[in-house]
Amino acid sequence: MSQTVTLTIDGAKIEGQPGQMILGAAQEAGIYIPRLCHKDGLTPHGSCRVCTVMVNGRPMSACTTPITEGMVVENDTEQISSLRRDLIDMLFVEGNHFCMFCERSGNCELQALAYRFGITAPKYPYMFPDRDVDATHPDIMIDRHRCILCGRCVRSSQEVDGKNVFQFVGRGEEKRVAVNAEAALADTNVDVTDAAIEACPVGAIIKKRVGYVVPIGKRLYDHKPIGSEIEADGAVTAK
């Protein structure tokens, strides 16, 4: 006998399974909750806070909060959108994100979120941090200028690839994705086919020599905003 949990998101009634997180239950119901550090199939991380929703009036991360019976969730409100806009904005200014020549442009989740939220230029001052590039591996490159510390590579490497190629080191402003080796990426057991490489939502971990191959107009987010694949036809909409 399967139990279901009933909750509302922006007034729409949806059902989910016990133990499911708000983000996942919403997604199955065709409601997109913006996210960056979350990737389906990986352990929820709850670090970027882009998925923040109001649960019974309190801000919670939708990727780590399990659903409960009668829960009242607010997702698409001006208050939350403005919070998410600020978070996205800060992610832009605390790295060196030059979308205009980044090869992930058009396929980048951070950029796509900015577009979805109507951000054309950040309101906070750029921090222009000093970051580095690790291009030692013959097929893979890490460009830390573009890293948003979502940890998707770290978890993918452990949980999907069964390796431990990437890990966080340092704290606060010093925090960065390091590789599990004496020197550099070339010294790890990473492989170009690893899920960890595909897991990066931005242009921080890229496959070498394939940039710009997809023409403008054919890229993932050229025509449809991020999340529209979830907001499919028949999605539950608020009444």
Binding site: M100, F101, E103, V133, A135, T136, M141, K208, R209, G211, Y212, V213, V214, P215, I216, G217, K218
Partner: protein
């Protein structure tokens, strides 16, 4: 402007209706005779450092940021170098023709913008006409048909760029060893529907430039003109080729200095000199030396240097052009305009030819071969020969970059033109009017300098002129905001 000391200096800053920021200084003695006139462009090569460590496949996209005016030239020139880095310099027909379509589109739009928006006010109203009407708005009011043509021709060129690069500005079309898309039938037909109109307007533009030059030949011959060498790429058979070819240099009489040079070895025949009064370098032909080795690039140099043009209407126009100087190189500064419009017609003919070529619908887009660590790309940008030179390390990261932009090659010629005009028109004048100063700017504009490229400043800035006395005091200064 009143001279209060024995020697004075006029500074024109900014020079208007040019792309970018530059200034002119003119030194006058006690009799108001011009002692010296110079164009100063502050060249800032920070960009070369900025791209150190970037992966080479980013180059064609990243270097477009060097200049907001000529992004396509840098995109294609870098791509030509990067092709060699992946051993893919022998492009597939589809890739080469797509890139050519992009290039002819940008040449078309760049030349049209320059002629109609920046220069026609001088040519159609007169160099010292009232500045209130001597501008693009004056043109639109008095010659509405020309104003309209300028807008639609420019748009057509931009559409050629859009369908090949994905965007009108800062696209991604050219990738290492090829192109990332072909031309769809819809895109082709979209361009074809305006083709006849573009051809007709291009013929009209050639006629305006030709009539102007021929009717004012005597004035033009004495207006900032001087003998010089000319440099440009030519195809193996000597035809004008804006996209690919070997480098040729001819002297003022048309004698060959070098021909079909191996572009990878450009440093064997071109060097750059530093002069104490300018931040911009002065390229010169090595075999002649720094004193006399400077040369001109751009439309005038190319039309002079080629043996013929491989499209019939532009070739007929070239023959008329050559007849004016009895087949010898044309050394008249103002003849740049006519040469530029011949290239507009040539670009239109080339675009038409390409649109009827079904190679553009081909599927074979990229080739790669034996990789290299160093490569040079040379392209005939609208403003003249453009050099991109890169070295990379074993990790695919850029370690060295050297760029010689067209405007840098024309540095000495523009200074020659400025000096010539200043001496002829300003010397001994009691009062130096705006109209007289504009003569200086007319001479500079003929070269269509992109000071933005030359300064590598990533953007557009206004231009400035100063008048300075013998003690270095600025007597008068004119700063004009950028009009664009």
């Amino acid at each position: 402007m009143v001279a209060t000391t024995d020697t004075k200096k006029i500074v024109i800053e900014p020079v208007t209706r040019v792309e970018g920021h530059g200034k002119v200084t003119i030194l006058l003695d006690e009799n108001n005779e011009v002692q010296q006139a110079r164009l100063h462009i502050v060249e800032f090569r920070g960009f070369e450092r900025f791209i150190q460590g970037r992966p080479y496949w980013e180059l064609p996209v990243i270097v477009q940021r060097l200049c907001g005016i000529c992004p396509v030239s840098h995109h294609l020139c870098a791509a030509k170098a990067v092709d060699r880095l992946v051993g893919g310099e022998n492009l597939t027909p589809t890739a080469e023709k797509m890139r050519r379509l992009m290039h002819y589109g940008q040449t078309f739009q760049s030349h049209v913008l320059h002629f109609f928006h920046l220069c026609s006010p001088d040519l159609l109203f007169g160099f010292d006409a009232d500045p209130a009407i001597r501008n693009v708005f004056g043109i639109a009011a008095k010659f509405p048909e020309l104003g309209k043509q300028a807008i639609f021709m420019r748009k057509f060129g931009q559409e050629c760029i859009r369908v090949t690069a994905g965007k009108k500005i800062h696209g991604t079309g050219a990738i290492p060893g090829g192109i990332n898309k072909n031309l769809t039938i819809e895109e082709r037909d979209f361009l074809l529907k305006d083709m006849d109109q573009m051809m007709e307007w291009s013929r009209g533009a050639v006629k305006i430039a030709k009539d102007y030059t021929v009717e004012n030949l005597e004035m033009a011959a004495g207006f900032g003109s001087f003998d010089s060498s000319h440099v440009g790429l030519v195809r193996e058979d000597g035809a004008l080729d804006l996209y690919n070819g070997g480098l040729r240099a001819i002297d003022k009489d048309g004698n060959t200095i070098f021909d079909h040079m191996d572009n990878q070895k450009y440093l064997d025949f071109i060097a750059e000199e530093v002069k104490p009064w300018s931040y911009m370098k002065f390229p010169f032909i090595k075999s002649i030396g720094p004193e006399d080795g400077w040369y001109r690039v751009g439309p005038l140099a190319r039309i002079n240097a080629c043996d013929f043009i491989d499209t019939p209407e532009a070739e007929a126009a070239r023959q008329e052009f050559a007849a004016v100087t009895n087949g010898k190189p044309n050394n008249i500064t103002l003849a740049y305009h006519w040469a530029r419009m011949i290239e507009v017609l040539h670009s239109a003919e080339k675009i038409q030819e390409l649109l009827h070529d079904d190679d553009l619908q081909g599927e074979d887009l990229v080739v790669k071969g034996e990789p290299r660590r160093e490569a040079v790309g040379i392209l005939e940008a609208p403003r003249g020969t453009l050099f991109h030179h890169y070295k990379i390390d074993e990790n695919d990261q850029v370690t060295m970059c050297n760029l010689i932009v067209s405007t840098t090659s024309n540095n000495m010629p523009m200074n020659m033109a400025v000096t010539g005009v200043a001496k002829k028109y300003l010397s001994g004048k009691k009062e130096i009017t705006e109209g007289l100063l504009n003569h200086i700017e007319v001479a500079i504009r003929a070269y269509d300098p992109c000071l933005s490229c030359a300064t590598h400043a990533m953007g557009q800035m206004p231009l400035k002129v100063k008048l300075v006395d013998c003690e270095g005091n600025v007597i008068d200064s004119r700063t004009k905001g950028a009009s664009w």
